[in-house]
Structure formats: structure tokens, C-alpha cells
Amino acid sequence: MSNLNHSNSRGLSRRQLLKHTACGAAGMAGLNAFFNLGLVSSAAAQAPGSGYKALVCVFLYGGNDSFNLLVPRDNAHYNAYAASRGNLKIPQNQLLAITPNTSDGSQYGLHPSCPELQSLFAAGRVAFVANVGSLLYPMTKAQFLNDSVQSPPQLFSHYDQQFQWMTSLPGSNEGFGWAGKAAELLQSLNGASALSMNISLLGANTWQVGPTVTPFAMGTNGPQGLTGFWGQQGQRRYAAFQQLLNRQTPNLFEKAFADTQKSAIDTNALLKTALDGAAPLTTVFPNSYLGAQLSMIARTIAIRGTLGVQRQVFFCGIGGFDSHNNQNQDQPGLFADLSACLNAFEAAMVELGTDNMVTTFTGSDFGRTLTSNGDGSDHAWGGVQLVMGGGVVGKDIYGVYPSLALDGPDDIDSGRILPTTSVDEYSATLAKWLGVQSGDMATVFPHLDHFAHPDMGFMG
């Protein structure tokens, strides 16, 4: 890869900041002060009682083959698609037609497993965002091939590309996600709530971690309490158990372990009572892992008033998208599950009257090769994402849907599509809707000013 542009990188990473200060601690204090300034502007800018908002990320682990989710349907573009995809193509007559408000000259259809998404799109509740991927700078195919513009490091590696999606900082090891940084800025809107703004239904993730923000992780049955502390003997045991957790220790591992257990106990106490007191949802969710995660998120949104929170950010997702083999067998089930679960979640939001307050969006490691490896596709780069909710200006395709011709203007190699929308642009549009002010955008997305569309418009 190129060495040419390393010195051009503008936003200094936290690690770089620390390297450039004489003392690590001083560097950190400086950074936190930076955040505090931001916190004042982003949180203060929200009118009191400006209302509840939540973001829900559905991460499709493994790299979703999204050019089979949103497919060109008119003959000319379909034929180019079909030629590139070979034995991975979806038959033209099976595509579920959609009609975007804005035409780019092509017609589009959805994978036949997604009738719910077709309806949600027609109802203006869903928008697609085309050709999103991690980038450091906008670049043309020629610039990529001749290394004249710096590419993100470790393209096509799952872990690195997930990390870049979540941090919006390719090449940085700082380890904070943009939702974590956004929560850092907006946390005060939740008043004195001890509950983290960021809640994960899928365990630890980088996206929701900020300098002082730690996501709360719970299972699909909600938070779990400790068992076995009944009666007098149980109370004695619990007191001793607590004493051990509260023991002052300089050991960082012991401290992190104790802090996690204490946080679990405190948050469980906070959430459990509220959840137990809430009326059940009538919306029925599909009996799948994603359905269970989204159902639990809906139940948590339902108790927002009891919790006294104004902003929440949820993380959930499923694996299985790394379709190197058996793609034609596995993809329909994955898409059907996604479509049905999103539909149920949107119905639940309507039921709760929160459909205008909650925006759901997808992320994924990367797109996949248009070409086939025999019975699947391999790691690539740009892909299509979707955004859902009452706040979304739906029934449209944002960004630029790429040429799917092999060796065409967007294909860098074997049907790996060069992204034309950066993860930063896609994510910043969502963060702005959540309440991050323009003056704070550079804190959350240090590379955003490399790109032309800090607000893509799909959130109005």
C-alpha cells in the first residue's frame, strides 16, 4: 500500500496525541477536557424535554453480500449484475420491485426473501444507502490502483473492518466507537440516570465504548440478577460477597472484574423493576436470535419514561453473513430473518408510539465480491446499508449505486466495489439526528471533513 499520504492524515488519533505529549496522563486529561467542551455544546443545544431518541444498530457480522439485497432490476443494469455474479445471481423475475422517489436512471428490486422491507420502503419507512465503506479520503479507482491516495489499512480483514466501521477512525488503535463518543457528549441529557446510554444485546463491542462510557451488556431475556442470597444466611453471604467486590486493589484486572460485577448488580436493580412493571408488547417478533434481541430492545424502549432517559443507543446483530460457501442456500434465510425482524421492530415502535423517535440502521464488515468462488463470495469493500424509522426520509436510495460491471469504473478487482460513501458520512448523518451538534462532529468523526456529505439527508 501507499506511503505517499501518511503525512496528510489530519485528525490525530488519541494514541498519537499521547505520543506527542511528554506525559500520558496529561495527554488524557487534555483529551477529556476536549470532550467536556463538546459535552457542553451538544447537550446544551437540546431544548429541555426535546424528547426521546434512540439509535439501534443491527450489525451483520461477516460482511453482508448486499448487492444481492438491493439489485438493479431494469434489463441493462440487471444484465451487467447477472454477468458479474454468475451463479450467485438472483433471478430477475424474482426481484421484489421498489420505486425510489428519486430516479438515478436504473430500476431496483429487493431480494425475494424481503417482502416486509419492500412494504416498509414503499411506506417511506426504509431508505437504502448505497456503496458505503470505510475510507480515509474519497478516491477514484485510478487513485486506488496507483496508490496516490491513502487507503484504510487492512482492507478485507473482518476484524479490522468491523473496527473501522465502529470507530470511524481507520488505522487508529484508540479503541473508542463513535456511539461511545456520541454518548460522551449526550449523556447529560439522561440526567442522573446510572444506566449507561449505550446498551448492547450482543456483548462487548467497540462501537459503544467512549473515554468514560462503558456499554451495558444484557441478554435477550434482559438483565440477569444474582441468585442465592435468600434468608439470613444468604444476606450474610451477600454482605461478604460485596465486601470482596469493594476491596481496594491496585491490580487492574481485579478492579475491572469487580467493577463489571458491581455494574451488573446496579444496572440489574435499575432495569429489572421497570421491566417487570411494564405491560407486555402485543407485537410478535420472529422466533430468532435477532428477533429476541430486537424484542428486548423494544421492551427497554417501552420503559424509557420510568428510567428517565432521553437518549439511548442499542447494539444488536447476527452472524452468518461471511458467505464463502453455500451462499445460495444460506442467504435467503438470513435476509428473510432480517426483513421479518426489522418489520416486527418497526411495528413495535408504532405500538409504543416511538416510531418517529427510534432509528434503526445496519452496518457490516464490508461488502462481498461480485464474482463467485464456486459457491460463495469473498471479502470486498463497498456495500449497501439500510435505515429504518419514522424519522427517516424513506422510499429512496441515498449515495450512488455503483456500476456492477467487472472491470467497470467501480470494480477494483474481481468485483470488489470501491466505496463512494464513507462510513463517516453515513454514521455522521445518524449521529447528527441523535443530537451531536455540528461543532462536535470533528470530535466524534475526526475524518468527516475529508468528505463532501457530512449530512447525507436521509434523516431529513
Binding site: 500500500m1 453471604r237 491490580n251 481485579e254 478492579k255 469487580a258 463489571t260
Partner: protein
Amino acid sequence: MGREQRSSTGAACSIGSAALVLLIQGCSGGSSGGGLVPGNDPPASEAQAARFLTRSTFGPTADEIHKLSVIGYTAWFDEQLNAPVSLERPPIEHYALHHGVGQEQRLEQWWKIVLKEDDQLRQRMAFALSEIFVVSDVAAALANDPVGMAEYYDILARDGLGNYRTLLEDVTKSPVMGRYLSMLKNEKADLANNIRPDENYAREVLQLFSIGLVKLNADGSPQLDAFNQPMPTYDQSVIENLAAVFTGWNYAGATNWDYPNENYLPMEPWEGHHETAAKTLLDGLVCPQGQTAQQDLTFALDMIFAHQNVGPFIGKQLIQRLVTSNPSPQYVARVAAVFADDGNGVRGNLFAVVKAVLTDPDAVTGNVDHPDTFGKLKEPLLRQTALWRAFAATFPGNKYKYYYPEDDFGQAPLRAGSVFNFFTPSFAPPGDIHDQGLVAPEFQITTDQGITSATNRFWDCIFNGYAGVSHPDSDKALLHLTAEIHMADDPAALVEHLNQLLMCGEMSQEMRGIVESMVTDTDAADPRQRVLEALYLIVTSPEYSVQK
């Protein structure tokens, strides 16, 4: 920042080295051995023996602590190397003659082996390797093949104390890996139909099983270019070329490429499906045209094996799995040097490597030199094995029915969510560990959710799982606590005994006070309850959960 700090520990390490020699020499001819032959290099104390066994086995037992204390490290290692290899696949195959088998039977065998069999070091290595060379029965392609999965684990056990090059080839040819990372039935390009070789195995064998993403120095630190950036070990074209190397493999004995009979034997080549064009691989090395599938595979695996990264890349992960999350660069370099040459000119000797990992000066004195950061969070599954081993747990009908430990611990053997394991070596939990530039991989599964389910699991396992429990669960393991019950009238003695057995004698005075008070406050007429209370508090405590 942690990295800078760690690179300044060289002096401490060399002192540590001297200290190890003193410890070893100063303590020879320790206790009498009950038939055991005293060795030259016994541990300095039983606590040191317990500490060593916490890292090298699935948990210390009183007998093993005593034995190691007598025979010494060298004899112990040799005994472990020569112990018969415990295998999962043969008993499962035997069982399958008359029963349906599922992954449950594989789990049963795993528990039986790690709890009861003698080849503990080999099995601990196999478990560590199973978190590097990951396959998982979560994948639909493997869910219904417990026999194949068991054979895969047996490869890790057989090769775990052998040579890395053998391991790499056995893993590569395993049809279980072949299905998991889709090398099985991977075919040469069919340009007319825009079909090219599958890149899955080619990418992950480099990224995860051997050399990693960036060029490393011998101490595991990244090599930096003129712009202070890490240097990638390969680019996309290497992946595409290596993908072509790994074409033309199918089930052993297959007579039809598309519809082979499935089995667990090493995959075999089909030359007609193998790409024979020349391939340009790592650092421009060209794999010649016209070679057979096996010749290409040998060429590529030799190339990978010879790469400078393998020693530090694999060595550091083994240190992380067994000893400490944040080894010093010097520690990594010493282990990598043994990987490069075991002293007899052999590269890749994993027995020598694991010995180097476990006997390194840092392994001995790292906790003294860096008490706040040395060590690791124990894998929750290994807290369970340690508890059951320490108290010789027995299972009803000798059936080891604990089939879904992932529900409690977020992990189970060969059951990770992806090829990236339950946790990645670079994971840092938010807070001080992250802020100091350190990592703690096991915290990736120790979330609010994970920690609570593990704590609850231990409550159930202890208070409902002891010999003599009034309504024993038909599947539940039973702890044998006779010796401890006899000590229950002396809380201090009981807690100190548990401290030696479970915590390598490292329990703080404050913790000792808390546990002793709980024991004292529990009815003296119910000595078993006193033991259970102490056990629960210890096993769920931060101090016990962190291995130092």
C-alpha cells in the same frame, strides 16, 4: 502508556532470570515423596507448584501439587510429554455404533479428559490451540459432525507438543477446517463463469494461524516503516494467489467431486481441480507452475512456517493463553527464540515452546515486578475445571453431562461465534486497562451479562453440587469435600487450605479476613455449610478470578 512501560522492564527480567536459578537451586531435595523420585528442580514451595499447575493444567489438585513439589519441573515436563495422548474421537465413534451422537458426546469426552486424564499439559495446549486454530460447531456445516469435530480436537492434542509445521499441515488438511473455512472442494478458476478460487482459508491461515497482519520484530512489536506505520505482511494479491494454492482438495477416498462421502480423514487432492499456474506468494516468492496440489501445499506451508512472524505471533498468544495478557517484549522474544531453535536446531518445537512459556523468568517473577498488571483474567471455563479438579468431582453414572457451558460462561470447547474466537488477543475492556494501553482478552466474554451468569453458575455448582446433597440432580457433578469439612471447626486453617489449593497461597489478608468471618458466622454445627460458603466466596471473588 503500557507499551513504553513494558519495554523498560529488561533489567527486571534479567534479575528475574537469576532469581529463578536461585529458586530452583535453593530448594532441591525438598519434601519426601511417597514413592516419587525427587528431582533436581522442584518448585520453591507448594504455592509455587500450584501457581505453575494453574497455568499448565486444568487446575491444581493436592496430589499434583505434592507430586510436582517432589519430582521437579524437568521430570514433570518429561512425564507430560510421554503420557499417553487422551483422544476424543475413538470413544465417540465407539458410542456411535449403537447410539445417535451429537456435540453433547464430544463435550462429555472433553470434560472427562480435562478433569480426569493425566496428559494435562498436552490437553491444556490443545485447548489453547483450539482458541487460535478455531473451528466451531456453531457453524451449520459442523453442527452435525461431532465425530469430525472430535478428531479435529485430537489433532490439536496429538500435535500440541509436537512440531508447529506438522500441526499446520494437519489443520490445513482437516476436512472439518476444510468445511469451516471452505477449502474443501475449493476449485481452480473458471474464468468463463467469473469463478475464482475461494479466499477464505488463504486469508485466515495467514491472519490468524501463523503470521498475522503486520510484520513483527522478534519481540512481537510491529516493524514500522519510514512513516512510523506498521508494515502489512501481505496484500490482496497474495491472498488471491494463496487461494489458488489451496485448490483441489476433497474428502479422503471421494469418488465423486460433487458428492463425496464425508469422513474425518485428512483431505486428499484431486489434480483436475487444482490450479497449476505459478503463484506469487509472500514477499514475491513464486510457487512454480505445474506442481501437484500436495507440492503446492507443501511449498506454501513451508513458506509460512519459515516466516519470521510465526514465533512471536504464536508465542505471544500462547503466553496470553497460559500466563499473562501483556507479556514484556523480552518474554515474547525469549519464547520466539525457542520457536526458532529449540536448542537442537529444530524450528517449531511446540513442547520446547510451551516449556519456555511456563518457565520463563517473567512467568516466575512478573507478578513481583508488575503486581498491578501482570497476569490475566482466568477463562471462566477454566475456573469451572479448576473447581471440579480440586475437589475430585464425580459425575452420576460417570457421565460428564455438562453439555452447554457457553450458556454460563460464554465459551465451550470448539464453540466460538466465529474464527476470531470467543475473544481476540487485542481486546481491551473500557477503563484503566484500555487507558493504559494494555489488553485483557477474556474480558470480552466477561460482560455484565457474562459475569453474572458465571457467578450464578458457581452458586448452583457449589451449593447444589456436593457429595451428600439431599436431592442430587441426576446430571450434576458432586464435589468431594471430606478433608475440608474436617477443617471447618478451624476457620483460619480451612481458609488457608483453600488458599493454597485454589489461590496459590496468594490470598490477601483482607480477603482472608472476610472469608474467615463468613465461615465463623456460619453455624459451627454445619461444617459442610461452612466449607460451601468459603468456596463460593473464593471462586466468585476478583482475587481468585485473576491469575497472577
